[in-house]
Subunit: 142 residues, 4 copies
């Protein structure tokens, strides 16, 4: 059964807007921060230098569905799983909630890229990433 | 034939990140700014008070596909059309380019809501919004 | 002897810019977050409603001296003291460091305001704020 | 008599916070954007590569005094002059107003640095920068 990565954030004042709620663009930075925390928690880095290669994961798609607003000082729980491991990409799925209330659902797809030439070249996800990612894969029979 | 709303932005230093490119979350604020410029350009407001009613448009969905990065000081062209007018929602479609290069495609769906009770109540898109929106509707036979 | 409020932050990717370092404007949001954490830690709120009054603290001055840059994923230690309690204002002093390295020094002065009429009216700092603030006052003989 | 560089910005929704006003940290990005527009307007760049040298201007000090709030969609006028040209630094002074109302005053001091070794090395402000800067110097007899 797949594991779920969980983290929590308190809404900061700068995250809010004049509607009194967290600005919709901020959910994307929350997602990226959860992804980075996850990578650290499983012993991987955001930028990975090894054997003369630099592997990192630029974003190719991001989306979010907003269900109810969150406000300054509220504690937001973020649950993250790996929705899909593609040949050269990974899709993370996020669920935001606040005291049991459904807040938002999001998705980020990152490309696995090698940067030693300066510009990103898509490559297969290296084995040392595959194993921890598979532990969090939503539906392992895919 | 549908009209296209066009605007342009110069990338500001704060829009970039340590990868040297515009942070992926920033495209969502670019989209919102284009939408607000469009509303002003057709004589509508972001927050519309009339006859004791306050009509505004909270976001319910946002997404973006990233095709090539943009950097500090580059000029980004943004083209926006109305992809769909729902009974109580509007979907805007955005195309980002930079000197002919395809940069990103995005989508924002907003709910049409009335706020006089304090919290948002979804309502049908008022007629005075429908007419300008229809001029920019991508495919009028839908 | 005055107490020092200490907190720590890991630099998030969105905090950085194309120079590869934390953008100078971000230090001000770090300061505000430290101030808010401090208020919570001493049992006060950022927005305080009591006896029909709403007390809050809009910023009237902010400044920062930058000594060395900080980068993505670094842990920043923030130390905060109360530099001055004025009749209707409070000045907080901040010291940023990273693994013993001096990073930045900042200052924020907030006005003590009452908001029940809608717009802020400067008022004397209420007693229930004075006591915890005095514990963190830099130089108690002032 | 010194010239004044003038620019104007419309407050974007993301610039605001839950107090309904532009967040205090945003004034610093407005200042930086005005500085960058000024450099472009006088034929200089933000990052200047010439004769194997790269000259740029990291911030060493920033401050702002807040006099009255500004809100979503308001047009903010920004006036900028050069307050001081040091041997290896430049201080810019900013005045924010909105329909004649005094909004804020700010100051940014940048160090003149050469980057060809990777890390910034303070250097004297090159002649080709001095001339345009002197045209905007607040008090030429200094």
């Amino acid at each position: 059964m797949s594991q779920v990565f969980k983290t929590i954030r308190r809404v900061q004042f700068r995250d809010t807007d004049a509607a009194g709620i967290v600005h919709f663009s901020v959910f994307f930075t929350y997602m990226e921060q959860a992804e980075h925390e996850f990578l650290l928690s499983v012993g991987l880095g955001v930028i990975n230098e090894q054997d003369g290669q630099t592997i990192s994961f630029p974003r190719v798609h991001a989306e979010c569905d907003y269900r109810s607003p969150i406000r300054f000082e509220e504690l937001v729980e973020i649950e993250m799983v790996v929705q899909k491991i593609g040949s050269r990409s990974v899709t993370y799925q996020f669920k935001f909630s606040c005291e049991g209330r459904d807040v938002a659902d999001g998705l980020i797809t990152v490309a696995c890229c090698e940067f030693s030439t300066g510009s990103p070249v898509p490559v297969a996800v290296p084995d040392r990433f595959l194993h921890p990612l598979q532990d969090y894969l939503l539906d392992p029979q895919d």
